[in-house]
Symmetry: C2
């Protein structure tokens, strides 16, 4: 069996929303299809991947570098030991050949979207859901039949007032979400606190609300927000500063008493740098938020 | 005055050379021209920038995101306070609008190449060499009329033996270079040591030779190379491990007695994470190797 084609298409996902750093009015995403000659239920298996919003589509990188490398490789070198399915790790290594180490960004989006499509094909060829296949390969085979999800919203957009924010969050609760997330850092601290309090009126308690600064803050701002936020007992305080600023993250962890989240920009093999909490703060929950598109890899 | 056009062209710089991680047979680069309506010596000023080898041309990113943002901005917002020249920092901020923090890579190449072209235009409009303009703006106005340079070569390529490596290095010395650099990590340690000794025969002393592993090594390999290299008293040992693996760099710094170099992948505002040497090693020279194309900024 082999990959017979890999297709990418970039789609606009323009929207007037914004977070603390970017507005999404020109945002795009990439959808990738990995077409194989394996036949299941009478049709060739096609794996699909896409990157969600924030990093733009990466069609040019895929077409110029990552897709050609995979298509030019001897197809046998991309198979697992059974030779009846693709090997995502070998395909990843092939796609990343001749890439300078470090400096991930657009590249991890491109290769992560491709990797997602490969895994989708692998699961379809194996005739089982991906979550089951991953549990069998990398866990003890037991799977969680339910999974915790939260509603990530609360963006800034023109004309949005507290009443609209209130309504948006109520809709999430009505759909069954138990935790919601909202953006902070795109307004003054005072205004953000008013927005948070408007949301708390709906969700009832801080532990049902996460906030996300999208990497906007310098250390003093991260700490002042931290001091102001600490009274609410929030679900988490996400990406206060630049994701590569480990020192900021470590200092914030020493002062902010609640859970923190970061890690969306870690790349495969680089989860280690997430700062360890100091001894007196062990046991405080810390959330690492890996992301297949930013990490460049599903596993 | 204003920018009237920004052009990008991607050129192949294919070559059979390789370092420890990548071969350059499909390498490309971007050349960028920033065309202004300022006239000097009877002709419109055009600033030029390019990215050298290693990270591929970034024409698509420039055309899809960075160039349109600059061209769509009100030209007055891109000028310095005299309104008679461009302001590189404002142009950089404009180009980077709506970019998610963290995860630099291709993006820093794209915006760094654009930034280089902007600075070239700024210096031409100011009718002085860029080194003088930078010294006046950011230093005390005094400039170094001479600057240390080294010859970065010693790549691996098919059929290259020690005699050829020897000849290559001799040509650098003949041209007046006092320090040369060679690649390591693309062969076994034993073979690399033989290559190093072949070069030392030409350059005479370890302090005239730098070695570069291009981020290839894990910690045990970085340390074994370090132990083997320490006998030579080299000019520096560059990018032993992944450039984002600060822990590896810090551990290597504790064990390797000579100068180390890293930092090619630091992005503007992120030079801080370079590990500080432990107390007993202060005073050992450390080289930070910023790069306009990888940093995304000339200043």
């Amino acid at each position: 069996m082999k990959i017979v084609a890999i297709r990418e298409k970039t789609f606009p996902i323009a929207s007037p929303i914004r977070n603390a750093v970017i507005d999404f009015s020109k945002m795009t995403l990439s959808a990738v299809a990995v077409v194989t000659d394996a036949v299941r239920d009478g049709r060739p298996v096609v794996g699909y991947g896409f990157n969600s919003n924030g990093r733009y589509g990466q069609g040019a990188l895929l077409r110029e570098r990552f897709i050609p490398r995979v298509l030019e490789a001897d197809p046998r070198t991309l198979l697992d030991e059974t030779a009846e399915n693709l090997d995502p790790r070998r395909i990843w290594d092939c796609a990343m050949r001749n890439e300078k180490p470090g400096g991930h960004g657009e590249r991890s989006v491109a290769v992560g979207t491709l990797d997602m499509a490969v895994w989708d094909a692998v699961a379809k060829i194996a005739r089982k859901p991906l979550y089951r296949l991953l549990a069998e390969r990398y866990g003890d085979g037991r799977v969680d039949e339910t999974v915790f999800v939260y509603a990530a919203g609360g963006y800034y957009y023109p004309g949005k007032d507290h009443a609209q924010l209130h309504d948006e969050m109520k809709r999430y609760l009505d759909r069954g979400y138990t935790v919601v997330k909202m953006k902070i850092g795109g307004a003054s601290l005072d205004e953000d606190l008013r927005r948070i309090e408007a949301v708390l009126e709906v969700v009832g308690k801080g532990s049902a609300l996460a906030v996300d600064a999208n990497g906007r803050f310098d250390l003093p701002t991260a700490l002042s927000y931290g001091r102001a936020l600490s009274r609410y007992g929030l679900f988490w305080y996400e990406e206060a500063g630049d994701p590569l600023d480990y020192e900021l993250q470590a200092q914030l962890a020493r002062e902010y008493p609640g859970p923190l989240a970061t890690g969306e920009d870690r790349v495969r093999g680089q989860v280690r740098p997430v700062p360890r909490p100091p001894a007196h703060r062990r046991g405080v929950r810390r959330f690492v938020a890996p992301c297949a598109k930013h990490e460049g890899s599903v596993h």
